[in-house]
Every structure is written in structure tokens, then in C-alpha cells.
Amino acid sequence: MSAAVTPAPPGSGGALLEASGVSIRFGGLKALTDFNLSVRQGDLLGLIGPNGAGKSTAFNVLTGVYQPTEGEVRVAGQRVNGWVPHQINHLGLARTFQNIRLFRALTALDNVKVACRAQGALHPVVMGPLAKAGTAMRNYRDWWRALLLTPGFQAEERELTRQAERLLEVMGLSHRRDEEAKNLPYGEQRRLEIARALGTRPKVLLLDEPAAGMNTREKADLMVLIRRLRDEFSLGVLVIEHDMKLVMGICERITVLDHGETIARGAPAEVRSDRKVIEAYLGDSYLESHGGAA
């Protein structure tokens, strides 16, 4: 059940996630204009900007929650315009949410197991009609295996549990294994979300304000953790963050958005001294909004 996802076709320049010229409009409102981005394995990129700059919108376009009005998104070399989120996820893109969206009534372990299991099925969109029918049949066959509790199914369940337990361990959540997600403290909920995202075996991990609501110490730990995850799981990581310090501390390259437009990109040092960035942050209501956020 854990068949590998489509490998990236060679020649795509190694970009696991690529957005080129992406724009999105809600009615008359331009939420994102000509957004370009490329994430390769081992990258640790930052996406920053004041509130309402379009950061989460960018995430939502990349992950298929919204469809781009213009431009295209490629994941593992595959054009994914028109795909739904779970299909894109199957290509190796996983995310967390700004306002934690765990499966609240499920235990920590089950939260991760959901993600682990969901992998494996090739999605119909990349297949012909015959293969489509095959997948449909296999979907139902899977149910039979579960209903009859076949040995293979049981082994698979054990394997899922093992994988999930390992991820909990990596995120330091083993002691919360059987707790309902909603009963976890805030910081642990954030970590559980990351564990869950890792369960889908992503190539690229998108973290939406992972440090929101954490204190300085926790943030420092998080920075270490994110780096470690990138190396251990061979990921490309894209982080949305409000906390400049955090972003500057870990990200190798940064993209700055304001009013949906990319106003700067480059290494932390370059971005920090960019006039437009300073204006956007200080000239606008950065401090207020930051104070009121999270």
C-alpha cells in the first residue's frame, strides 16, 4: 500500500515545487500577482510579508485549495493546475495550517496514521480510463481487506502504527500517543501537525506560521527542529513566518510579499536591508498587526 509516488521526471531542473507567474483574483480583488517560486530538495525558504500580504493565499494556491487565475504550479515536474489538494499531496507536497487544523477528536497517533495511510494510491488524474477503473476496484478491494481482517491488512496496520510512532518520537510526542489531539497543549499541537504532515512522506513541506504563539525558547527549539527535519527526511521546506528573527535565522532565501506582489527576494541579509521591505513592514501597520496576531 505504500507504493512510491510518481518520480519527478528528469530534466525539471530538480525543482520539486515550482510556481511560475501565478496570479489569483477573488472577484475584483487581486490576492496574488505574478508569484514565482522554486523549491528544491534541501532548500529552506521563507515567505514573509505583513498581514494580508497574500502569504496564506500563496500556500493555498500551491496546495490546490485555490486554483490560480493565471500561471502554473508544478509539483515534482507535474503541472497541477486543476488538481485537488489530496492529489497534489500525493505528489509529495504536505502542509500545516496557520490556525491548527488537527483531527481534534482523534488521538495523536491516529492523526499521524491518517496521513500515513492516505499515501500510496496513485491518483486517477494521471491515469487513463483503464487504470482509473483499476484504481476504483482496488479502492474497494482495500475495504474488503479491512472488513475481512486479512493478514496482509493486519501487517499493514502494524506497519502504519510503527511509522506513526516513529514520527511522534521524532517530534517528541511519544508520551502523547493516546491523547486526543484537542487535549494537547498548544505547542504540542503545532508539532503534531508537523508530524502529521510528515506522515504523508512529502518531498516538500510547507509550514504556515509554525512558531505562532510560541515563546522565545520554544522558537529556538523549533528552528533547530526544522533544520533537522529537512536533513533527516531530505525535504525542501517553505516557511511562512511573521517572526523576522526566526525567518532570518534559518532561511537561506526569502521571498517578501506585500499586497499580493513580490516586493523582494534573496538572502536574509539582502532582504533585511531592502527599502521596500522596511517600508512595507514599518510604514504599514506591521507592529500593530503583529501585536494582534495569533
Binding site: T63, V65, V84, P85, H86, N89, H90, A94, R95, F97, R101, L102, F103, R104, A105, L106, T107, D110, K113, V114, A115, R117, A118, Q119, A121, H123, N139, Y140, D142, W143, A146, L147, L149, F153, Q154, E156, E157, R158, L160, T161, D178, E180, R196, A197, G199, T200
Partner: protein
């Protein structure tokens, strides 16, 4: 552990069980057992009939729970699927009435044909479930609910206008193959299926959809596919329930499958606790026997006077008021999302740790 069927039960969980429920639970179990044992002692046609009705309602409630409880969708057209199963199975049995499998004794041959008819009904209902599940591609929440309701009503109108289905009079003369054993075999099956699903990765995916559809989708769960499959399985069993129903109720009639019937099933599921299979079972038993109990009570109370003549009419208003009172008393349903064994008092045997 929150998820029913998911497997572990630690003592600290038991500690979180609402104390009041722990005290009440034996009552909940005892009441139906007493009533049933009572009628069972003189195994009578009435006991058989009542047991069959209870069984069919359990199948309906547990199967609806797969969609409404586990997946968090909101179907209020379950009676429509039941009708499909009842009519298709009924017509099949009527067609095969004269057929006997020569290599089997008559009784066995009848049961084989009965099973064939049931499966035909179940499959037909499952196909309809697939059709209803498809709009869930685009619809959410109350809009999906109204579509299921609409499908249920359309099915009823179609039946009412089809000569082969006996139109308004209904289909009578269906061989009465059903037995308590057959009904409870299917009860057992649906409960088992519900439990196995709940304990599997499929069940977890359904729960994930119920908890947060956006997050489930982002974690790679094919939410539409799962929703459709939940609908298919659920309506298959509703069709089986309808088929069984058609083989012990002497006549099936469009009036038996209105949206009021759908509502009764929804009530069972919600009262039992959304997502709790055992809760659905207990609620189905309780609500099915309640009107009979009220009938007895009022029969005993109404000695003479004008009220005595009207006693039987008072059952339904009382039923309605009881529903309100019960929901106010326990808004999360009798069991919440927990299963029976999660809330058993300590002195009762408990399920031990671990199934996987």
C-alpha cells in the same frame, strides 16, 4: 480513546466516563432486555415481529451512522434506500416464488432465494447510494442533506407511480421468508462491518473527514471518494434492511418510506451518539420498543372514561416530547462518540486492550 472501534481502553479513559451515564447504562441495557425476555419467554409471533422490527431498525441506524456519525455527512434520506431494497428484494422474491432449487430441501431453497433477493435489494440500494454520493463532490452540510432528502422523496414518488411496484396499494404477497435468526445475522454483519471499518485506516480517514475536511484533503485523503464509498456501504445495508422488512411485514407501501421514517432513523443515530455504533444500537432498541411500552402503560392507566378511548393516540406526541427531553438531558447523545464498552461500569466485564 475517542474513536469507537479504535482499540485501546486504558483505565484513565474509564475515569473520564460521565459518572451519571455509568449509573444509567445498566438501565439502558436492562430495559430492552427485560421487555424482550418478557416476550421471548412465550416465543410468540409478536415477539418474533417485534424482534424483527428492532433488528431492522438496528441495521438502519448502524448503517446510517457510517455516513452521519463516522463521516460527518448529513443524510436524511435513508428511508429512500430502504425503500429501494424493500421493493427490489420484494419483486425478486415474488418473481422467484415458484422457483425451487431441486437439489435442496424446500426450506433451504427458500432461504437461498431469500438471500439472493436480499442481495439484489442491497446492491440496487448501493447503486442509488453511489448516485446520491456523487453530488457530495460539490455539496456540503445542509445542502447535501436536502439532496438526500430529495432523492428519498423522488424514489417514493417513482414507486408510487410504477405498476410493477403495486403503486399506492403496495406490494403484498411477498413470501414471508424472514426469521429472527436471519435478521440478527445481518445485524451482526452490519455491526461487524461498522466496527471493522472504524478500526481500520478507512475508518480513520472517515473520522478525519468528519473532523476537518480541509485538513483531511491536505493530508492526502481522497475525501470525495471516501464519502461516496461511505454512502455506498451505508445504503447497501439500508437496502438489506428494506429487504428483510419486506419479508416479514406482509405488505410494503410507499407510505412506509416517507421522510418521517428517515427522520426516525436520524433520531436513533443522534440519540445514540453520533459515531457510536453501540449507541445507535441501544437507541434503536429503545426507540423501537418505546411506543409499545407506552401502549402498555397507557393501556394499564386508562381505565374507563373518555381518555381510555384515546390512549393509543397519545403515544406519538409523548414520543416527540420525550425526544426533546432526552436531547436536552444528553445533547451529545447517550454515548457521545464512545462505544458501549467504554462506558460500562467498572463491575461489568470490559473489553481488553488491543485489537490490532
Amino acid at each position: 480513546m475517542a474513536v469507537p472501534g479504535a482499540t485501546t481502553l486504558s483505565d484513565e479513559t474509564a475515569g473520564r466516563v460521565p459518572p451519571a451515564l455509568r449509573g444509567i447504562l445498566p438501565v439502558l441495557i436492562a430495559v430492552p432486555v427485560v421487555v424482550l425476555a418478557d416476550v421471548l419467554l412465550n416465543t410468540s409471533p409478536f415477539a418474533t415481529y417485534l424482534l424483527s422490527v428492532v433488528g431492522v431498525n438496528i441495521i438502519l441506524a448502524v448503517s446510517l451512522n457510517i455516513v452521519n456519525g463516522m463521516t460527518g455527512q448529513f443524510s436524511i434520506g435513508h428511508a429512500g434506500f430502504m425503500a429501494v431494497g424493500a421493493y427490489i428484494a420484494g419483486v425478486t422474491s415474488l418473481e422467484l416464488k415458484e422457483v425451487a432449487l431441486s437439489f435442496l430441501p424446500v426450506a433451504a431453497s427458500d432461504q437461498v432465494l431469500f438471500t439472493v433477493a436480499l442481495l439484489a435489494g442491497g446492491v440496487a440500494a448501493a447503486l442509488c447510494g453511489f448516485l446520491v454520493g456523487l453530488p457530495s463532490l460539490r455539496l456540503r452540510g445542509d445542502y447535501l442533506a436536502i439532496v438526500t432528502l430529495g432523492f428519498g422523496e423522488i424514489i417514493r414518488v417513482v414507486v408510487q407511480n410504477t405498476e410493477a411496484f403495486g403503486r399506492a396499494l403496495g406490494l403484498s404477497g411477498i413470501p414471508q421468508y424472514s426469521s429472527v435468526a436471519m435478521v440478527y445475522f445481518w445485524v451482526f454483519l452490519v455491526v461487524l462491518v461498522a466496527r471493522r471499518i472504524a478500526g481500520s485506516s478507512h475508518g480513520r480517514s472517515l473520522w478525519a473527514i468528519r473532523e476537518d475536511e480541509v485538513a483531511a484533503e491536505a493530508m492526502g485523503v481522497d475525501t470525495t471518494g471516501y464519502k461516496v464509498r461511505a454512502f455506498v456501504i451505508s445504503s447497501f445495508f439500508a437496502g438489506i434492511a428494506g429487504g428483510l422488512f419486506a419479508h416479514f411485514v406482509p405488505i410494503i407501501n410507499p407510505g412506509s418510506f416517507t421522510f418521517v421514517k428517515s427522520m426516525e432513523i436520524v433520531v436513533m443515530v443522534v440519540l445514540g451518539g453520533l459515531g457510536s455504533s453501540t449507541g445507535a444500537i441501544v437507541a434503536a432498541i429503545f426507540l423501537t420498543l418505546l411506543p409499545e411500552g407506552l401502549r402498555s402503560l397507557f393501556g394499564a392507566l386508562g381505565a374507563g372514561g373518555s381518555l381510555a378511548q384515546k390512549v393509543d393516540q397519545i403515544r406519538m406526541p409523548v414520543y416527540g416530547i420525550l425526544l426533546v427531553v432526552l436531547m436536552l438531558a444528553r445533547p451529545q447523545g447517550l454515548f457521545g462518540t464512545k462505544e458501549l464498552w467504554d462506558v460500562l461500569p467498572r463491575w461489568l466485564p470490559r473489553k481488553k486492550k488491543g485489537m490490532s
